[in-house]
């Protein structure tokens, strides 16, 4: 009997407390309708006060990049708050440099809307949409990298620049999370988005994507990314990648040759061993079609006794150093692990590239 009473009393007290909190939340956390002004009147929004800026922007179809889903643990959802955001919170300071704090940058998931607020977001972000799509096909290109193609349903077309990325929504035990993947399909394929996904052991996003089968529905937002390809055909394009950092450069190269068939372009790609090499045949075929395209793959590990390899050997920045001559106008896109990026940036600087012409995706 005492057990039943104890359980009853305990449950009753907890319920009473919960009800009290719920009522208090209704009454106290109610700020009425607040106005969110984006980019000085470009897109005024009226939203319910009391929610975070990120969720208010999401419900109004303005998709700020965010990988953690608003928990304040990724630091991607930075927006400039000009007025009405309150002081910077201790939960934000780990993700903001002193310079960013001075310029008014905040994490949208931590800013609560309590009054009218004025914010500024990059123009690109206003074009970001949420896409529903289904898997059109998957292909294993190496032992751990899969090429996954999505057929877009709503909206049916995507317009992106080469080098941009999308954020794929993946389910996880604590609600959906977003993972960023570069678009590897060229910009003229408007009804499809192709990604290269390397399986990370225990990775939430890559495991989800690797287990997708043809016809499975997916949701993603995009396109994101600030890279702008130089429009001057006299400028050479240098692409340097390593590991699985191929997707953005495949997009750049195919988009580039559909527009400027004779433009000079160099692709350098570094792998560990022969089993990590992918897309080599495709690029060699492209190089036969466009003599101005030069492709070099390099293996960093010694070639094994059973393996066949007639390409470069050693780290990829050595190949870059060997094949490029100094003093040509170039723009470079690098994609790979940080040590590779650092080594290649150093080599490119020696070849006379200005820092603003070197763009990279570090991961």
């Amino acid at each position: 009997m005492i057990y039943l009473i104890a359980i009853g009393v305990f449950a009753g007290l907890l319920l009473a407390l919960a009800a009290l909190i719920a009522v208090a939340e209704r009454v106290l956390v109610n700020y009425g309708i607040c106005n969110v002004d984006i980019n000085a009147g470009e897109r005024p929004l009226d939203v319910d006060g009391g929610q975070t800026l990120l969720s208010a922007l999401y419900t109004n179809k303005l998709f700020i990049p965010s990988a953690c889903g608003g928990k304040g643990s990724c630091g991607f959802c930075k927006v400039t708050v000009l007025e009405g955001g309150g002081p910077v919170l201790p939960t934000e300071t780990p993700y903001l440099s002193r310079k960013e704090v001075r310029s008014g940058l905040r994490l949208a998931c931590q800013v609560k809307i309590r009054q009218n607020i004025r914010i500024r977001v990059p123009d690109d972000m206003l074009n970001v949409k949420m896409f529903t799509a289904s898997v059109a096909g998957t292909r294993e290109v190496t032992h751990d990298i899969k090429e996954i193609r999505f057929a877009l349903h709503d909206p049916p077309e995507i317009s992106h620049r080469p080098g941009q990325y999308v954020q794929v929504q993946a389910p996880s035990p604590d609600g959906p999370v977003f993972r960023a993947y570069s678009i590897s399909s060229p910009t003229y394929e408007k009804n499809e988005v192709e990604l290269n996904v390397r399986l990370v052991p225990n990775g939430i996003g890559s495991t989800y994507l690797h287990n997708l089968k043809e016809g499975d529905p997916v949701t993603f937002t995009g396109p994101y990314g600030e890279f702008v390809l130089n429009e001057d055909p006299a400028v050479e394009i240098i692409c340097v990648g390593g590991g699985c950092g191929m997707a953005p450069m495949k997009n750049i190269i195919y988009s580039l040759y559909s527009r400027w068939p004779d433009r000079q372009c160099w692709l350098f790609f570094g792998c560990r061993s022969a089993r990590d090499v992918f897309y080599l045949q495709e690029f060699q075929a492209l190089a036969r079609k466009h003599p101005s395209f030069h492709v070099f793959y390099a293996l960093s590990d010694p070639v094994g006794p059973q393996e066949q390899w007639d390409g470069e050997a050693g780290f990829i920045h050595l190949s870059v150093d060997k094949h490029l001559e100094a003093g040509v106008r170039r723009q470079a896109f690098l994609c790979g692990p940080p040590p590779m990026i650092e080594a290649v940036t150093r080599v490119l600087a020696e070849k006379g590239l200005r820092p603003q012409d070197i763009f990279y995706d570090k991961f």
């Binding site: 005492i2 009290l20 208090a24 309150g86 002081p87």
Partner: protein, 202 residues
């Protein structure tokens, strides 16, 4: 039930039976948030408020529901005291957070992350448990809750002042940071023993 007046209990809870310096409860936030006088003051004020209110609330629940032959439930449920007290403290802190956020955003930003931290401050639960062990009446509980809060706030203010002053002294490397703060806390506890003859509560 002891006969001590509520006023005496307040004084005793601040000086002779300081919850932090004689019982060493609430040490974690005491050590972490005592680097600046401003934050120490904010946290101290929040602790005074929350401790006073939760002690009273828990008094009501304990003697209204949990004890044997209580007005609302005749069974002896005192074994539930711990978990119920924790739940009440957590809910109350949530409520205070919402209230402060709504009516005093300035204070909300000043307290920032400290307000939720109070939920896990063991001094708050400690005060509620002492109230039971020492069999205080309602007014004595109110006095004790308030006094213990003030005592905690006083202790954190004192150590914040000391740590600030210590910025000018050369502390040997192995003692820098938390270790010297622990030593100071010990010295402070010893000095507070000087109040011991003044009044005493059980």
């Amino acid at each position: 039930m002891s006969e001590t007046s509520a006023f005496i209990i307040i004084v005793a809870a601040i000086f002779t039976n300081n919850i932090l310096l004689s019982n060493f409860l609430g040490m974690c936030s005491f050590l972490v948030c005592s680097r600046q006088i401003g934050t120490a003051l904010g946290l101290g004020a929040a602790v005074i408020f929350v401790m006073t209110c939760t002690t009273v609330l828990n008094y009501g629940i304990y003697y209204g529901v949990l004890v044997k032959d209580a007005p609302l439930c005749s069974a002896d449920l005192t074994f539930l005291a711990f978990i119920i007290f924790i739940a009440v403290i957590a809910a109350f802190v949530q409520f205070v957070e919402m209230f402060v956020e709504r009516f005093s955003p300035k204070l909300y930003y000043a307290l920032g992350i400290f307000l939720p931290l109070i939920t896990v401050n063991c001094a708050i639960l400690g005060a509620a448990l002492f109230m039971i062990i020492r069999k205080y009446s309602f007014w004595q509980s109110l006095g004790y809750g308030f006094g213990a809060g003030v005592g905690w706030a006083l202790a954190i203010l004192l150590i914040a002042g000391l740590r600030k002053k210590m910025g000018y002294s050369r502390v040997p490397k192995p003692f820098q940071g938390v270790s010297i703060a622990m030593i100071i806390t010990g010295v402070m506890a010893m000095t507070f023993m000087g109040f011991a003859g003044m009044v005493s509560i059980q």
